[in-house]
């Protein structure tokens, strides 16, 4: 029952389309350029001329300026923070809204001071169009070039080159032509061609909203007219599907894959290939809370939640694509990178690379070209690092295969950031990768030795990228231990985890060949297997043991062997009923035991003591191998990533 004080807008009072039609179109705009070339003045003036300044604000600033004996500055309208006014520079990105005609704009004011490139990138990364402002008097400066370069990296193609302070050069056409010629020459190789070049005087309002009489030789649009010709960034619906997973939810009976459609369109019934694993399943449903009708499709830009028809193992970071239109998969690729951190990006330095929701250790293995941070010209001497505010071309190598695209094909999955500590140190865009056929085998993970000197436990963890562990599968013969062990080994291996199956039968051919099947011998068999597993885990491997190991006491002994060594032990109960196992009977052992040909067979004439508190229990009678493997893999990956408890 809705209380009297609460209101809910009834659905359908305004049709969806009507409401959508009333929503204005918004264009995100970034204003960049060298410090003091007039960005804030241009924005302040645009706000003033489009009547977007809150009541009284312009007047109060005018009064404040008079009191201080200063000339009124449109830039002050923006400088809301006290310290900004003191320093007279914009310290961070701000977002300002204004409207002109039917079009609404969000201006991202990107600061021009060199120190604030990280803020400029933060702001400009969201922009759909840019005004690149250059002082007619000073001409193209360091930041003009850098911002031009960064715009090209961000993929912003709708650019107005505004030549400001035309009043200082007497509205000279010759000066205007010289500035744009100089800049165009710099921008051309970067793939940036200004859509419009406009001569303006921001302070005096010339060519901002309407064409000015002071520049009769200029026949092009004013800034506002030029902006009006721009379109919002294409959403990428026409591109191949890239559904990038953020998480798997199991809040209720549904197993939901949550993520964002970074490109393309996804429909119910579509067959999806999940990269880099290349497992396949179909879209069973698109989940949408409170929707009148479940959606049939989701498109680029939308946050989506789907369920699958088959419960394959999928995880955060994977990229779902349609068959035949997959992303590239590789461990090495070419990229153009920019660097923001004080500490340079050094060759061979292990870093965390994040590409959409994929996260992997990577390093630069070759620096091919570096552009100087102030001149933005190619540095001649060979370099092994990229310094702050420099951009360069490098080859990156990741510890395990990544799914990605060339940025000029699918921009969102073609760019990445490199973490420096817990902050973004820099970013890059990928180019020049060849797409392979998805029916070819996947790229192999390998492990590179990046450490030297004494090999400590931590060193091993760094080397392998994970901790060693013992995954102990226990259950009746025929429960599915070997099948799962082998599948797990392979799945782990694909993810760059060094895994090894310790098989019961194989042990009895060698290490334990002096042992028979008496309770004492069985106990000794388990002890030896446990010690061997521990040693291998200490060496850095994830050991998957597949032994019936029927006695609880013996399994607990193995656990204590591992605990004492600080090795993570994970007991996995492969639970299948005796009837199920006997029906499967892959080695015809139950048949022989029933016939009396084998004595002391577990489940027939020898007891099996099920674990009381296993870390994982898998009911293989009810779950498919894929489902069981999914649960197992998820848990083992989590365990191998964390430090075992100290004892």
């Amino acid at each position: 029952m809705l209380p009297e004080s609460i209101f809910v807008q009834p659905r359908g009072t305004a049709s969806e389309r009507e409401i959508a039609a009333r929503e204005p179109e918004k264009l995100k705009l970034v204003v960049v350029g060298h410090v003091d070339h007039g960005k804030s003045t241009l924005i302040g003036r645009l706000l003033f001329d489009t009547d977007a300044i809150p009541h009284g604000k312009a007047e109060s600033i005018r009064k404040a300026c008079e009191a201080e004996g200063m000339e009124f500055e449109y830039a002050f309208l923006l400088d809301a923070l006290l310290e900004e006014q003191e320093q007279n520079i914009t310290i961070d990105t701000t977002q300002i809204h204004f409207a002109a005609g039917e079009r609404h704009y969000v201006i991202i004011d990107a600061p021009g001071h060199k120190e604030f490139v990280k803020n400029m990138m933060t702001g400009a990364a969201h922009a759909e169009a840019a005004i690149l402002i250059v002082d007619a008097h000073e001409g193209v400066q360091e930041q003009s070039r850098r911002h031009g370069y960064l715009l090209s990296m961000l993929g912003i193609r709708q650019v107005i080159l505004a030549v400001n302070k035309m009043d200082l050069v007497d509205y000279s056409q010759a000066r205007f032509d010289a500035v744009i010629a100089e800049f165009a020459e710099f921008l051309r190789p970067l793939g940036v061609t200004p859509t419009h070049c406009v001569p303006i005087s921001a302070r005096n309002g010339h060519n901002l909203t309407t064409p000015s009489a002071r520049t009769p030789w200029y026949t092009g649009p004013s800034i506002l007219q030029a902006l009006d010709s721009f379109v919002p960034r294409p959403s990428g619906e026409e591109l191949p599907l890239r559904f990038v997973l953020q998480d798997i939810y199991r809040f209720d009976e549904r197993r939901i894959l949550a993520g964002r459609i970074e490109a393309g369109t996804l429909r119910v019934g579509d067959e999806l290939v999940f990269w880099p694993d290349r497992k396949r399943s179909r879209v069973k449903s698109i989940e949408h809370w409170n929707a009148a009708k479940a959606p049939e499709k989701v498109m680029a830009g939308e946050s989506a939640a789907i369920t699958l028809t088959e419960q394959i193992f999928v995880e955060r970071g994977q990229v779902a694509a349609h068959a035949g239109h997959g992303p590239a998969e590789a461990r090495e690729f070419h990229a153009r990178v920019f660097w923001l951190d004080h500490t340079p990006l050094a060759l061979d330095q292990p870093l965390t690379l994040r590409l959409c929701t994929q996260e992997v250790e990577a390093r630069v293995i070759a620096v091919q070209r570096v552009l100087d941070s102030s001149t933005m010209e190619v540095v001649n001497e060979p370099r092994t690092e990229i310094r702050r505010y420099e951009v360069g071309e490098v080859i990156l190598r990741a510890r395990r295969p990544l799914a990605f695209d060339n940025a000029d094909y699918v921009p969102v999955t073609g760019r990445f950031v490199l973490m420096h500590g817990r902050q973004i140190g820099g970013g890059g865009v990928i180019y020049g990768t060849t797409y392979e056929q998805e029916n070819l085998p996947g790229v192999k993970s390998d492990n590179l030795s990046w450490t030297t000197g004494e090999i400590t436990r931590e060193g091993r963890v760094r080397h392998f990228g994970h901790h060693g562990a013992v995954v102990w599968l226990t259950g009746l013969s025929g429960a599915g231990k070997s099948t799962l062990a082998v599948a797990l080994e392979q799945a782990l291996f694909q993810r760059g985890v060094a895994a090894f199956v310790l098989d019961g039968d194989n042990l009895r051919h060698g290490l334990c060949r002096d042992l028979a099947f008496s309770p004492e011998d069985r106990a000794e068999n388990i002890r030896r297997a446990g010690e061997a597993a521990k040693l291998m885990a200490e060496a850095g491997l994830v050991v998957i043991s597949a032994l019936i190991s029927p006695y609880a006491a013996e399994r607990d002994k193995v656990r204590s062997i591992c605990d004492a060594a600080g090795v993570l032990f994970c007991e996995v109960y492969i639970n299948a009923s005796l009837e199920t196992c006997e029906r499967r009977d892959p080695k015809q052992l139950y048949k022989k035991a029933r016939a009396g040909e084998i004595k002391g067979f577990t489940g027939i004439d020898s007891p099996y003591e099920p674990p009381t508190r296993p870390e994982i229990e898998l009911c293989t009678g009810e779950q498919s191998v894929e489902e069981s493997l999914g649960v197992l893999l998820e848990s083992v990956l989590k365990s191998a990533a964390k430090t075992p408890a100290k004892t």
């Binding site: 701000t94 803020n119 760019r415 970013g427």
Partner: protein
């Protein structure tokens, strides 16, 4: 996609990134319009389940209508509600009736909120901050780290682009996650209108006045308005030049009040 669709999609993405990144997550909830939009978005992000607690910092000066809303919404949205009051300050006699506004606001909201954070050891909070609310908020990040002293270092913020956020916190620190950062007040109302999100009728005009923003009742004043339903509010906001927090007295107690409050940890 429409403008609102894009905002919604981005907010859902942020919710899911936050839930993945932080194990001790909480969402402060004031029962106000932005707060209720957050609840709605969380329901969408997690397909009907809000998988973290919501925190109401109860100053004991809440409008009765808001308390009624709280009781109703806890059941309606199936919320795991945590209520926190700075009882120690109340015991010391901190009252709007006797103390100055900034002190009371600081003690009963900010300090109470810090107490709750320390008690529950949250490492991330999902807040309804919007850039258009105040000039100081324009500089925020989607994931905005706070030091152990709750300080916001707005002069040196981490870079944030391409959907990559600051997701690591040191002991005692927390991250403010701000899914509504890009929304405007008008966007919030349009979304409430489009989705049919429940809100308090306190936002509707009665006798030529309405509340645009709701806080403690002694210091929240209505603004002149005839907007008595959502359509009229949307229409009003398209043309108004009165700032949203004009009716919030603590903002005007000092020249740079919001900045002082925020630097001390105010949301």
């Amino acid at each position: 996609m429409t403008h609102l669709d894009r905002l919604e999609a981005q907010s859902l993405f942020i919710f899911r990134e936050a839930y993945h990144a932080f194990d001790k997550l909480c969402m402060p909830w004031s029962m106000g319009k932005d707060s209720n939009v957050l609840l709605w978005l969380a329901k969408k992000a997690f397909c009907g389940k809000i998988p973290f607690p919501v925190l109401h910092v109860d100053t004991t000066y809440e409008f009765p209508e808001m308390m009624e809303f709280r009781e109703w919404a806890v059941k309606e949205y199936d919320l795991d509600l945590i209520v926190w009051t700075n009882q120690e300050a109340l015991d010391r006699g901190i009252r709007y009736e006797t103390s100055d506004i900034l002190t009371v606001s600081h003690e009963l909201r900010t300090v109470a909120f810090q107490q709750a954070l320390q008690h529950h050891q949250w490492n991330a909070l999902i807040t309804g901050i919007r850039r258009d609310e105040d000039a100081t908020r324009a500089k925020e990040r989607y994931f905005s780290p706070r030091t152990a002293d709750f300080e916001w270092n707005y002069k040196d913020q981490p870079p944030e682009f391409w959907g990559q956020f600051t997701t690591e916190v040191r002991q005692g620190e927390h991250v403010r996650v701000q899914p509504l950062l890009d929304w405007t007040e008008l966007d919030v109302w349009r979304y409430i209108q489009r989705e049919g999100i429940p809100i308090s009728k306190l936002y509707f005009a009665r006798e030529g006045k309405r509340f645009r923003s709701l806080g403690c009742w002694p210091i929240t004043k209505p603004v002149a308005s005839n907007a008595s339903n959502i359509d009229e509010i949307v229409e009003e906001l398209r043309t108004t030049k009165v700032s949203e927090r004009a009716g919030r007295e603590q903002d005007h107690a000092a020249r740079n009040a919001m900045q002082l409050l925020r630097a001390k940890g105010f949301m």
